[in-house]
């Protein structure tokens, strides 16, 4: 079990609640604490359009990593003509080293169910799926118990709060790979097909599960949506940074300690890192965003943790993971390891992903082994750029991130490793000759 880190008392906790309840599945206690107030407000006073307007006013962005405005997604799903619409709560948590989503489902199952019900109400869906990693048995148990209790109490089920509308919520344990973090892949898996991404557009909000409009949201987003309807958009806007308000769960792994914390967006990386304990020396590098995250130097510790700021420096929120390396870590070996993981998790659908990311990994391996080809430095840049440009899904785009962030921030280390090692010179020359001739020789008939 990953421990919950202590955060300053002043930090609001819309996700995890003020204090963890003795039994999170106890419906009465939860209702007493305010659960389903937001749903009641949505059903009784706000029309679906009103719910979307309220979410829009709150500035809520999806917590799945990309930070897409939630209201836009709901608006599209609601406006697309269809006989059926779906809500999919993504609690899969693809990063195998991060447990934030499972922890949230264990601690706040009713918040999630309420958020799911609100999303379903807003888009006119009668069927919702909560996808959970099959190994998170405790989260599944609690969610199922909570769904049963909520149905019995009439919050969801055949007649949602007496509105005459139906909403069946199902917990779907999924087994699968890292790729399931990609929303179109998750939808494929829920359809019982091989998990491979689909070209967007059309986005799932227009054409998703079983070809119907589907709102796919990270579970944190849905819990926050419930909180917004209960407490109001203005209260939400007061938390975090102006362009991305609210809080987010992060999993910090430092040399002095590790754990999960709910932090307001815009909190500097340094502050988040220190939640897990203060280090005497600055880390060699920070890995922000999980296996496909960016490797950042210690100088960037004051960067605010938010979608836009992280993207600007070549990292991303991703799985919510922040890892601080030791002082002597070899960033290139770290990048190789991460690239290998991501390349190995590719679903194999597209060429740039199946072969291209593997070639990236091979280049990194050659560089680390001291046997780089003379073309490898350029190849790394060219191949990364081409993979990003012709990618089908974010997995292949982001797989280039560890290596490209090393190229950006740790150039001296890279250049040192690109120096030729004597005994390989002969082999390299042969290839250099071959490459040269390939370029100069014009095709003749």
């Amino acid at each position: 079990m990953t421990s919950l880190l202590k955060t300053p008392a002043a930090w609001p906790r819309p996700l995890l609640g003020k204090a963890s309840a003795a039994d999170p599945v106890d419906l009465d206690a939860a209702v007493k604490a305010g659960a389903f107030d937001g749903l009641k407000k949505a059903v009784r006073t706000l029309a679906p359009a009103g719910v979307v307007a309220e979410i829009r006013a709150s500035g809520l962005r999806g917590r799945g990593g990309a930070g897409f405005p939630t209201a836009d997604k709901w608006q599209v799903a609601a406006a697309t003509p269809a006989d059926r619409r779906y809500v999919v709560a993504n609690g899969y948590g693809a990063d195998p080293a991060v447990r934030t989503d499972a922890l949230l489902m264990e601690m706040n199952p009713y918040g999630l169910i309420e958020g799911v019900a609100i999303a379903a109400w807003a888009i006119g869906s009668d069927s919702a799926i909560i996808a959970v990693r099959a190994t998170e048995t405790e989260a599944i148990r609690r969610l199922e118990a909570a769904i049963g209790a909520a149905e019995e109490a009439g919050f969801i089920g055949a007649d949602v709060l007496g509105s005459g509308r139906e909403l069946m919520v199902e917990v779907r344990p999924v087994q699968g790979a890292y790729m399931l973090g990609e929303e179109t892949v998750l939808l494929k898996a829920l359809e019982g097909k091989r998990g491979q991404p689909e070209q967007r557009p059309p986005h799932p909000a227009e054409r998703g599960l079983f070809s119907r409009p589907t709102v796919v949201q990270n579970i944190q987003t849905l819990v926050l949506a419930a909180w917004i309807l209960r407490e109001g958009a203005a209260a939400f806007r007061a938390i975090g940074s102006p362009d991305a308000p609210g809080t987010i769960l992060v999993q910090v792994r430092g040399t002095a300690g590790s754990g999960i914390a709910e932090v307001p967006l815009g909190t500097p990386l340094r502050v988040i890192l220190e939640l897990a304990g203060k280090n005497a020396a600055a880390p060699r590098a920070l890995l922000v965003g999980g296996p496909s995250g960016g490797i950042l130097p210690a100088e960037l510790l004051d960067t605010p943790y938010s979608f836009a700021e992280l993207r600007a420096i070549g990292a991303h929120v991703g799985s919510g993971s922040i890892v601080a390396t030791g002082t002597n870590a070899d960033v290139l070996e770290l990048a190789e390891l991460l690239t290998r993981f991501c390349a190995g998790e590719a679903c194999g659908k597209t060429i740039p992903c199946r072969i291209g990311t593997r070639r990236l990994e091979e280049i990194a391996t050659r560089i680390n082994a001291g046997t780089p080809r003379p073309t490898d430095a350029d190849l790394l840049v060219e191949l990364s750029a081409d993979i990003v440009a012709s990618a089908l899904c974010d997995h292949e785009r982001l797989t280039t991130l560890p290596l490209s962030s090393v190229m950006r921030y740790f150039r001296p280390e890279l250049d040192a490793k690109l120096q030729p090692v004597a005994e390989h010179t002969a082999g390299r020359q042969r290839i250099a000759v071959a490459d040269g001739e390939r370029r100069t020789e014009a095709p003749t008939a």
Partner: protein, 857 residues
Amino acid sequence: MTDLITRPAPPEQTLSERLLTTQAPQRPQSTPVIRVEVDGRLVEGREGQTILEVCRDNGIEIPTLCYEPKLPGFGACRMCVVEVEGEEHPPISCSREAETGMKVSTQSEPVRRLRATNLELIFSDHNAYCLPPCQNKCPSHIDIPGFLKQNAEGNWRESSRIFKRTIPFPSVLGRVCPAPCEEHCRRDEVDEAIAIRDSHRYAGDQVLKAMLNDGIDPPVPFEVQPKTGRRVAVIGSGPAGMSAAYYLLIAGHEVTVFERDGAPGGMLRYGIPQYRLPKVEVLEAEYESVTRLGGRIECNQALGRDFSLDDLQGQGFDAVLVAIGCYDTNKLGIPNEDADGVLDGLEYLQTATLGLPYPGHAGKRIVVIGGGFTSMDCTRTSVRQGAAEVTLVYRRDMKDMPASDEVHEAIEEGATAIFQAAPTRVLVGPDGKVSGVEFIRNKLGEPDASGRRRPEPAPGTEFSIECDRVLLAIGQGPDLSWFGPGSDGLTATKQRRLKADAVTFETGRPGVFGTGDVRIGAATVVAAIAEGRRSAYAVDAFVKGLDLSALKTRQTLAEPQPEFLSIVPFTSEVKEPRYRLKAMDAELRNHSYVEYEIPYTRAEAVAESTRCLQCTCEAIGFCDLRRLGIEYGTTLPTLEPGFHAGAGYRSVSENRFTGTNHDYIRDDSHAFILREPSRCIDCGRCAQVCSEVVGAACYDFMRIGFDTLVTTPLDMSLNDSPCVSCGRCAETCPTGALMPKPRVLQKYEVDESRCILCGICVDACPYDALRDGGDFELAHASRQEPTIDLMALAMVDRETEMTYIRRERDWLDRARADGRIVDPGRLLPMLPAGIVADLGTSPGNGSGHSNGHAHNK
């Protein structure tokens, strides 16, 4: 609240209905029109079409590998990326809907670079190759595995026909070709290279025998085209001119060949001795295949002497092809080179090949200088003419000698060969006649442009050889003295050759083309024939008034340029050494002009051809990957000597991304479909078509990451999968990973007297190869939908092929009833021919099964 959620929902769409709305051809004509700017051109499409569909409908080509026109875009190959103005990442055109006002560029540099990168990535894991090395190395790219296969079955005529597709003279080449193909034969990895040359020699000889003995015309490789009325003059009846004439005649043009000497053949007749190429039985007999097609040969007509280009063009020839070869022997540039007794090797041969003794040759001591085929012919002819002593001197090492294969034969016949020595001066006796030649030893320096080590004189190593005659055979250049008035407008290259384009063969003078040795310098017979054939294409295009610049692309695609070699070693083949041609004893042959090699027996010829490993890709010619690889320049250039040192041949997977690659096992289990997963590019088309159209689902993506492969469930053999043998997967495969297996059975015979008209065959055939006729039996008029068990088809509870086709017909009937005009050319290719032909002319004449029962007489 209701306004947001209670919109009219579209009805549940079945697959075929969805297909009808997602495919370009089926989109109803009432759909609103959109206008898109593609590559600066404003084109029209219909709402809901993808960019790719709009482009294809307007004849704009966007490359694809994974796109299957019958299905919605899949988006795996990333080849159809296009640039859309205002978008950061280029979208893929197969999945992106076109919108009015879009500005699309399909060929911009960035998207072409992305496609090239993709192709290189594919090739870096493509453990396969296109052409067998022999075919690739042959200057004329003969289909060697093809004719060897026919040889192995004893089909000499068909074998020669295949050969004649690229070279009209199998018997001539079977004697004089240096056989560069054999050097690269992959059978060598098992035991010894195939005797490719001797094999086509045997096949060609059988055709000649049939012609001479039984009067059977030799086979013609292509159907002879109807007369075009165009007239082409070919100057020179050597290998280049005659092969050009041959292919021009097949193309339907009228061809006249002008020959300077008294008999046709050029170098074949006057440069190659009788003992290597019998003039009457082989050369003249094989040249008959040209005259039998209607070619005229006018001898004793020399360009510049008897006529000029002006004359020919004035006589109404639409094109003139100059193929006069190389007859000017090069000079050594040493003292006393012009002394009495120093002869031009070619001039000597010209007399000698006619079988006439050269004056005063017998009993003389002869020195031959040079290392090519001419020098060898001079040497061996001199032996036959009774020279007392024949010494061959070559400046390089023996292995670098062009005619090194013949050296041991010449030595057997009594000649002496000296290597690495260059002449410094000719020694002259007091009588002014040659008394000897002084040479200097050469050491071998750095390799030069040809990959051979450059000879460098070693001072102080001079020596001399006493002799009476010196024959110079150090290469020839073309005689261009006829340039000038009447034949002006032509230019020479720096090497003093006729300047003509390498692809279009155009010279500086309109309507005049140059080919063969006169263009490329003295080369082998096979290279000259390849020149002749390719120039025939160009002349053909010219006289038909086609765009010659477009020829460039076509020829680049037509010529098997890329070097695609497998790196997979042969391990399990049974060793069986080469069947060698036996030569007559040296004692017998060095006084004789009779052909000295004893041909194969029939059994030997069959056995030798059977040794061929047939290491070719069956998909060559229709492989999209290869086509795109050539177009985007991501395939390898021709074999360069520098590349095979050390690491063996370069393979297709060698490019800037070279890394680990997969080597899968071929699945030979299925009776009709051959799976070669090493050639698979994981486009997923077979998986899509099999599950979405056929309904059998034999294939899917397996494993993850780099090891992903589109394969059968758990890699089981295809035979054990739910395959219905419809062949759709092989049809859709863009490479040679799934191929229809070559089968002996080519046609089924139907005994109509035994047919009970049950109709089961009609129902079950997935391709509508059998259909109900108009006079279908009355008794079956009341028969309902088929109740027979369609076996494997019925096991699949999804949309089957049958119902799919039927729905398509229903749709067609609806379209007709609505009065929508449908262009038959835009229909799915699978629609029965009868339906397609009927469209628009006689509405309502459904010949499909579903309403065929109602058509009773």
